[in-house]
């Protein structure tokens, strides 16, 4: 996705019955007893990136493409509590230069989404609030020391998220969601590295925490759900990529990304989705264009 992926779970979508998909940052819940599973395919590519704040191309990379195939699963424990899980297989490729492709199983993510409150249906609609806890750990034996080709950061993450949602009686909705992610330190295979203006004589890298805000709005009607979203990620620390240096796992990676998509219920238990997003601005990230498509099946126990 970017020079570093902050958990595939950010786009993790879990279908439920009818038109309702569920992601960790939307205003939807799966009904109690619903078991869902699906796959998502993501194609993310960029040919320009920000070296610090300087936007550039790099002949030794050309176009960097990261593809992933993600298994997702979910379960509605109650009408107010859902559990979700995801694990992606990721592969990266640079169109130019001599650097080798990388691929492998990335991180296993678990999330629990809890509806804190929901107002009674009023004349205009319903307001609700959600809390989401997420934990992610690498399961594959991949290297975090070969960006931009590394498939992940190789560290554990935990995040807390709060989402506010309004669903109008006339089908449109608006959501606002913020998440704070704690990132565990990462270990490299080398005993020294230079980042953020300092030589570190250790194999351990302190990873900065991450703040993310999402606002989305759209239509949720019948078999259709059509959201438009704006995501802003701010990394709370880390150094810039130095001039003509390789990216580093703990770089300060910021971006603003605009996206839209369509989710459509093919049948009572089956939904498909396609979406696209584009990075508008960033720092130490690629200017990605991202396409996602997915298929989710839900079963009511």
């Amino acid at each position: 996705m970017l020079l570093r992926t902050i958990g595939t779970v950010a786009v993790l979508a879990l279908g439920a019955s009818s038109a309702a998909a569920q992601t960790i940052d939307d205003g939807l819940m799966m009904p109690r007893g619903t078991l869902s599973a699906g796959v998502l395919y993501t194609h993310d590519s960029w040919d320009q990136y920000w070296e610090g704040t300087l936007k550039r191309k790099n002949g030794n990379i050309g176009t960097l493409t990261q593809q992933s195939l993600t298994w997702i699963g979910g379960y509605g424990v109650t009408d107010r509590l859902s559990l979700m899980a995801a694990v992606p297989y990721v592969w990266t490729h640079a169109s130019q230069g001599v650097l080798h492709d990388l691929s492998g199983i990335q991180d296993l993510t678990f999330a629990a989404k809890y509806r804190l409150l929901a107002t009674a249906p009023a004349k205009h609609g319903t307001f609700s609030a959600f809390a989401v806890g997420t934990a992610a750990l690498p399961v594959g034996d991949y290297t975090p020391d070969f960006f931009p080709l590394s498939i992940g950061t190789g560290g554990g993450r935990a995040s807390g998220r709060l989402t506010l949602s309004f669903q109008s009686t006339s089908a449109w909705f608006v959501n606002a969601s913020s998440a704070y992610t704690w990132c565990s330190n990462v270990r490299l295979n080398r005993n020294a590295y230079y980042t953020d203006g300092q030589l570190y004589l250790t194999n351990e890298v302190a990873m900065p925490n991450v703040l993310e805000h999402t606002v989305s709005a759209g239509v949720n009607r019948g078999r259709w759900r059509i959201p438009l979203s704006l995501v802003q990620q701010r990394t709370l620390g880390g150094g810039d990529i130095r001039r003509q240096d390789m990216p580093f796992v703990s770089n300060r990676m910021d971006f603003t990304k605009l996206g839209s998509g369509v989710m459509y219920a093919l049948a009572k238990n089956l939904s498909i989705q396609v979406s696209a997003a584009h990075v508008l601005s960033g720092r130490n990230v690629g200017q990605s264009t991202i396409f996602t498509s997915g298929l989710v099946y839900a079963h009511h126990l």
């Binding site: 439920a16 019955s17 009818s18 038109a19 205003g27 939807l28 819940m29 550039r56 002949g59 109650t78 009408d79 107010r80 509590l81 559990l83 130019q96 230069g97 001599v98 650097l99 080798h100 629990a112 509806r115 409150l117 929901a118 107002t119 009674a120 249906p121 319903t126 809390a131 806890g133 997420t134 934990a135 750990l137 034996d141 290297t143 554990g156 993450r157 935990a158 669903q167 704690w182 565990s184 330190n185 295979n189 080398r190 005993n191 020294a192 230079y194 300092q198 030589l199 570190y200 004589l201 250790t202 351990e204 949720n220 019948g222 078999r223 130095r242 001039r243 003509q244 240096d245 390789m246």
Partner: protein
């Protein structure tokens, strides 16, 4: 069909159902985050240095560049009974009465040993400046400009051979300066202020080593002058560091103002001698010219071989093609040529085909253990370089041996002179043969680490590492097995990375061992017990 997210009955009513599973998830999340101590470390920890011996004979150990220990004169100090000296002691007492926490931290930092501290600082500078110039938008690459060191590109590009030379100049200059300091110390035998006045507390370990001229000031003076030339854009921070070091020596009761002044003057004078050598050692013209680059390629083609081509996009001029003519420490230009490895397998030979196939097979089936080795010894752009890696290795042995400053300087000087000579010899061979990298011969070969921008034969890592391991094994025989294992690992790491053939590595190791022999001959006869 209705969306399912809001249901009557739960509006604003606290749930009676304990969100037990949510709690479980949040606990798991907290466990993940619990490992999130952002403080990384430990760094190289340097406990207060208490040398196991004073090295009273070090003033007679053989010099590298100086003609002798008294080449630079140090004036007779004022007697310890003089009013001037008493006033210096009073100044220390008054400083000690009002030490801030910043000053105490400076004392603790420099008490770890100043040769080792400056070695850490030097490695940091190499890592900071070890970045190639970015291509120009209109094509081609700018050249780092010593007259504009703060620009883009910064000066220098501290690539492996620039770094090898820098480590060696700093270490050799420190070593000669300290031998001279030791000579004068035992000429004048003025003890440290903490020994001369028991109202002064020794805030660093203070030995019976005479303190005039101050070894701290000698090291600060010689090092800063060398670094100002080698890393001119770092002038402000290294000057501040050096001043802090001298102050720490004063505040700690280790040296008086006149001990420091004499040491600083000696250190700077020694640096002048070394900088004169550096100015004329051939480095300034080592980049060559477009005419030379073409001649190198033509020479290989004329011999019927495939000439090296830069793998960078856009193609980058070869890295310092005339570094092989830069003056070595222990070898003459004739020695460099005489020790040149035999030719590599012809680029059209079956052996080369087989070796290219081996590289491809290796990178395509790389195990995680092999990748870890490739990354451990990568030491590519943005790092302290292969010579820096071996300084990193050496430091722990120096520290654990509780060496005096002059003996620590000897270790780093011998190590870095041998690695500089290895760099010169290796570069001479690389540009003599101008042999292509595996990924040039077979573009299907993709590398697991960045590819260096110079010819393949022989492997610089193998040459540097074999020379370094030989020197360290001589100086620390108990570590010989470990050094040999590191040498072999560093060598083979380049095959795992996909950037060298096996014959590059094997020839580089043999070459590095021969080159180390010159420095070993010096070390065996330099008078150090």
């Amino acid at each position: 069909m209705r969306i399912t997210f809001s249901r009557p009955g739960s509006f604003l009513k606290p749930s009676n159902r304990r969100p037990f599973l949510l709690a479980v998830i949040l606990c798991a999340a907290a466990l993940v985050a619990g490992g999130c101590d952002k403080v990384v470390g430990p760094f190289e920890v340097l406990p207060p240095l208490e040398p196991s011996t004073l090295e009273p004979t070090a003033g007679s150990w053989r010099m590298i560049v100086l003609t002798g220990p008294s080449q630079i004169a140090v004036a007779v100090p004022a007697p310890v009974t003089s009013a001037a000296y008493t006033a210096e002691l009073d100044a220390i007492k008054s400083s000690q009465a009002n030490l801030t926490s910043t000053q105490q931290q400076a004392i603790a930092y420099w008490s770890g040993g100043s040769v080792m501290r400056w070695n850490q600082i030097l490695r940091e500078l190499v890592a900071r400046y070890n970045l190639p110039p970015a291509p120009r938008d209109e094509g081609g690459y700018p050249v780092p400009d010593v007259e504009n060191p703060f620009g883009d590109p910064a000066f220098p590009f501290a690539n492996p051979v620039y770094a090898a030379r820098a480590y060696s100049y700093v270490s050799a200059a420190q070593y000669d300066a300290l031998k001279s300091a030791w000579y004068w110390k035992f000429q004048y035998n003025r003890l440290s202020p903490a020994k001369n006045d028991n109202a002064i507390t020794a805030l660093m370990p203070v030995s019976g080593l005479p303190s005039y001229p101050s070894e701290d000031a000698v090291i600060s003076g010689v090092t800063v002058e060398m670094l100002k030339t080698l890393f001119p854009a770092a002038v402000e921070e290294v000057t501040l560091k050096a001043a802090e070091q001298r102050n720490a020596a004063l505040w700690s009761g280790k040296a008086t103002a006149s001990d420091l002044a004499a040491g600083l003057a000696l250190g700077k004078s020694v640096a002048t001698v070394f900088l004169a050598r550096a100015a004329a050692d051939g480095m300034r013209t080592a980049g060559g010219s477009a005419v030379l680059w073409q001649a190198l390629a033509d020479s290989a083609t004329t011999r019927g071989e495939i000439a090296w081509i830069s793998r960078d996009i856009p193609a980058r001029p070869p890295m310092l093609p005339l570094f092989g003519q830069v003056r070595a420490w222990m070898m003459t230009p004739a020695d460099i040529v005489a020790e040149r490895p035999p030719p590599p397998p012809s680029t059209s030979s079956q052996q080369m085909k087989d070796e290219t196939a081996e590289v491809k097979r290796t990178v395509e089936h790389l195990t995680s253990v092999q990748l870890a080795v490739a990354q451990k010894w990568n030491d590519g752009a943005g790092t302290y370089s292969p010579p820096g890696h071996w300084n990193d290795v050496a430091l722990e042995y120096v520290r654990d041996a509780k060496m005096s400053e002059v003996r620590a300087a000897r270790v780093f000087a011998l190590l870095n002179m041998a690695m500089h000579d290895a760099g010169v010899g290796c570069w001479e061979a690389k540009y003599h043969y101008f042999n292509p990298r595996p990924s040039q011969v077979d573009p299907g070969i993709k590398t697991q680490i960045g590819i260096p921008n110079f010819p393949s034969y022989t492997s610089g890592h193998s040459t540097f590492s074999t020379a370094a391991a030989a020197i360290l094994s001589y100086l620390f025989p108990s570590g010989a097995t470990s050094f040999a294992a590191m040498r072999d690992e560093a060598g083979i790491s380049r095959l795992y990375g996909g950037i060298h053939y096996r014959s590059d590595i094997e020839a580089g190791k043999l070459h590095g061992a021969r080159i180390a022999g010159y420095t070993l001959s010096f070390a065996r006869s330099d008078g150090a017990p």
